[in-house]
C-alpha cells in the first residue's frame, strides 16, 4: 500500500476520497501476459494466475521469455472472455470460490477486495467485487526492464489505493461500499485498476 507492505485487518489506510479503510481479503486473477521488446517484438503467455494476497509474496513462472531489453508489459486483471465462462478453469477450490454464479451470467470473479472503512465513527464493511467481461482490467505498464539469462525475476507490486483513484476518486460513502450488482461502481474500479500495478 503506497510502497509499504499490506497489513491485513487494520483501518490504517486512507484513499484519495479520504476514506479510512482496512483490507481483510484480496483475491484476484492475472492473465494474458504480453511482453514487448525494445525492438518491437512481442511475446505472449496465456497463463492464468490466481493470487491470494494473504499468501506471502505469491510467485509464478513464465518460461521461455527471451533474454533482452523490454519496454512494456501488458496483462489483464481478470480473465479474457474465452476463460470467463463457468467451468472454463480447472475445478480447484480457489476457482470454485471465485466462480460467478450462472444465475448472474456465469464465469468468475476477477477480484474480491474486502475490508472495513470508517463510516462516521463506525467501522463498516465494504466489498469491491469485480467481474463480467466489460469490467476486465487492462494493465499496460510502460517501463524499461531487462530480462537476463537463467531465472530472471520480475517484481510486480499492486498499490491498493490506486483502485480508488485515477481517473475516479472512489468514495465508499458516495460510490457505494459494495460493487456487487452495481455496474457503475464496477466500471469505475475497472478504469482505476489499470495502474494499480507497477514493476519494481
Amino acid at each position: 500500500m503506497d510502497g509499504s507492505k499490506l497489513e491485513f485487518n487494520s483501518i490504517k489506510y486512507v484513499n484519495a476520497a479520504v476514506n479510512n479503510y482496512s483490507v481483510s481479503k484480496l483475491h484476484f486473477y492475472i492473465s494474458a501476459f504480453e511482453f514487448e521488446n525494445t525492438d518491437g517484438s512481442k511475446f505472449t503467455f496465456d497463463s492464468i494466475f490466481y493470487v491470494d494476497a494473504a499468501i506471502q509474496t505469491p510467485s509464478f513462472a513464465l518460461e521461455g521469455l527471451p533474454v533482452g531489453n523490454y519496454k512494456s508489459l501488458r496483462f489483464l486483471i481478470g480473465l479474457d472472455s474465452l476463460h470467463n465462462i463457468s467451468h472454463a478453469l480447472p475445478n480447484t477450490i480457489d476457482n470454485e470460490n471465485m466462480s460467478w454464479p450462472d444465475m448472474m451470467g456465469g464465469g468468475y470473479h476477477f477480484m474480491k477486495l474486502e475490508g472495513n472503512f470508517m463510516d462516521g465513527g463506525n467501522p463498516t464493511g465494504y466489498a469491491m467485487h469485480l467481474g463480467k467481461n466489460v469490467h476486465v482490467v487492462q494493465v499496460n505498464i510502460q517501463k524499461d526492464f531487462k530480462v537476463s539469462g537463467g531465472t530472471a525475476a520480475l517484481n510486480l507490486e499492486m498499490n491498493i489505493n490506486e483502485w480508488f483513484s485515477n481517473p475516479h476518486n472512489y468514495d465508499f460513502n458516495i460510490d457505494g461500499n459494495y460493487s456487487m450488482s452495481d455496474s457503475v461502481a464496477m466500471s469505475k474500479l475497472a478504469l482505476n485498476g489499470k495502474d494499480v500495478f507497477n514493476i519494481q
Binding site: 454464479p101 472495513n116 464493511g125
Partner: protein
C-alpha cells in the same frame, strides 16, 4: 538320581525351544510380505474440485483401511470408552443430530478445522490434534494388539506404531469420505431436474438476492474460510470464535463456514447449537443479523442492512433448495462403515 533331574530339565528346555520356534513360524509379524502398499485413487465426482493430497502422505488402500478401522475403534481412547465414530455417526451425516458436532464430510478439502479455525494446516495436522490432544491415545494399547502392528506395517512399512502414523491413517480414510451425490450434485451434473421451488431456492442462494454463495460456494457449499455472520454483537467465551485463537479484534465472532451437506438431518445449527430449525437459520439471515466491527462485509449490502428481507414464500423456496443437499449415497456408503 541327581543326573536324572538334570536330564529332565534339558529335555524340557529343548522342547520349549522347539515350541518357540514353531510359534515364531506361525506368527504373522515374523512373516511379513515385502512392504508394497497399493495406491488408492480418491474418486471425486466431476462437479467437486480436485482434492490436494499432500505428497508426504499418499493415499493407499492399506492406509485407508487402517484409518477406517481406527476411526471405528475405541482402542484410540486411552481407557477405551469412545471412538471417532461415537461422535461422528455415518447415518447422521458423520455427526450427532442435536449437537454442534462438526460433520466429517469432505474434510479433504479443508485447511481450517474446528468451529473456530483453531487447527490450521493439513488434515494430518487436524488428526494429530485428535490423536494426541483430544484422545491422548495410549499407543501401547495399539502396539500390544495382535492385528494393528501388521496393519501399520502394511500401510507405513513399520510395525512400530506412533501417533503420527495414526493421524496419517485417519487422514487417508477421511479424504475418501466424500459427499458428492446429493440432488444438488446431480442437478449440477445434469443428471436430474429440480422442482420449481428448488430451482427458485437455488436462484436465491446463488444470486445477490440471498447472497449465500459468497461463503457457501457451489459444490462444497463452504469456502473453507472464517466469517462473522452477525450472530452476536458482544463476544464472550466461545462466541468470540477465531478471536480466541488470534487475539485480533478483527476476528471476533468468526467461525468456519460449515458445509451444508446433509443439513436437513440436523436439529441444531451454528457453533453453539443456538438454532433448532432451518427456518430459524434462514430467519437469522432475514432479520436477525447483529452488527459489529468484525461483521463480514458481505452481510451488510445496501438495502440489506436489516437482513435479506425475503418473503415467506421465498424463505420456503430457499429451504426447499437446502433440502436437496441430503446425500443418501454418502449416508449409506458401505466403504465408510464400521469394518470391525
Amino acid at each position: 538320581m541327581k543326573l536324572k533331574v538334570i536330564f529332565t530339565i534339558l529335555i524340557v528346555g529343548l522342547l520349549s525351544v522347539l515350541a518357540c520356534k514353531k510359534d515364531k513360524d506361525d506368527d504373522p509379524i515374523n512373516n511379513l510380505p515385502p512392504y508394497n502398499p497399493t495406491p488408492y485413487t480418491i474418486n471425486t465426482p466431476s462437479n467437486l474440485p480436485a482434492m490436494n493430497v499432500p505428497s508426504f502422505n499418499p493415499t493407499t488402500v492399506e492406509g485407508v483401511y487402517l484409518g477406517r478401522k481406527l476411526y471405528y475403534d475405541k482402542l484410540l481412547h486411552p481407557t477405551g470408552t469412545s471412538s471417532c465414530s461415537s461422535c461422528h455417526i455415518q447415518s447422521q451425516g458423520f455427526a450427532v443430530t442435536g449437537t454442534n458436532i462438526i460433520p466429517h464430510v469432505n474434510l479433504g478439502y479443508q485447511n481450517k478445522f474446528l468451529w473456530n479455525g483453531e487447527i490450521q494446516g493439513t488434515l494430518e495436522d487436524a488428526m494429530m490434534f485428535e490423536v494426541e490432544t483430544f484422545f491422548n491415545t495410549d499407543i501401547s494399547r495399539l502396539q500390544k494388539d495382535s492385528l494393528y502392528p501388521i496393519l501399520f506395517y502394511k500401510a507405513f512399512g513399520s510395525t512400530t506404531i506412533d501417533t503420527k502414523k495414526c493421524a496419517y491413517a485417519l487422514a487417508q480414510f477421511l479424504r475418501t469420505v466424500v459427499s458428492g451425490n446429493s440432488k444438488l450434485d446431480r442437478f449440477i451434473r445434469h443428471e436430474t431436474l429440480f422442482t420449481a421451488d428448488e430451482i427458485q431456492g437455488f436462484n436465491i442462494f446463488f444470486s445477490e438476492k440471498g447472497d449465500c454463495f459468497h461463503c457457501h460456494s457451489l459444490s462444497l457449499t463452504s469456502d473453507g474460510d472464517l466469517h462473522n455472520i452477525g450472530l452476536d454483537s458482544v463476544f464472550t467465551g466461545v462466541n468470540a470464535g477465531y478471536y480466541n485463537v488470534s487475539h485480533n479484534a478483527a476476528d471476533y465472532g468468526k467461525f468456519r463456514t460449515p458445509s451444508l451437506r446433509n443439513t436437513a438431518l440436523k436439529t441444531t445449527f451454528m457453533h453453539d447449537a443456538r438454532f433448532t430449525t432451518l427456518d430459524q437459520v434462514i430467519e437469522h439471515y432475514n432479520t436477525g443479523v447483529k452488527h459489529s466491527p468484525s461483521l463480514d462485509p458481505v452481510m451488510t449490502k445496501p438495502g440489506k442492512e436489516l437482513g435479506l428481507q425475503l418473503t415467506p414464500l421465498e424463505k420456503q423456496k430457499l429451504k426447499a433448495f437446502l433440502l436437496t443437499l441430503t446425500d443418501s449415497t454418502f449416508l449409506n456408503n458401505p466403504d465408510f462403515s464400521n469394518p470391525n
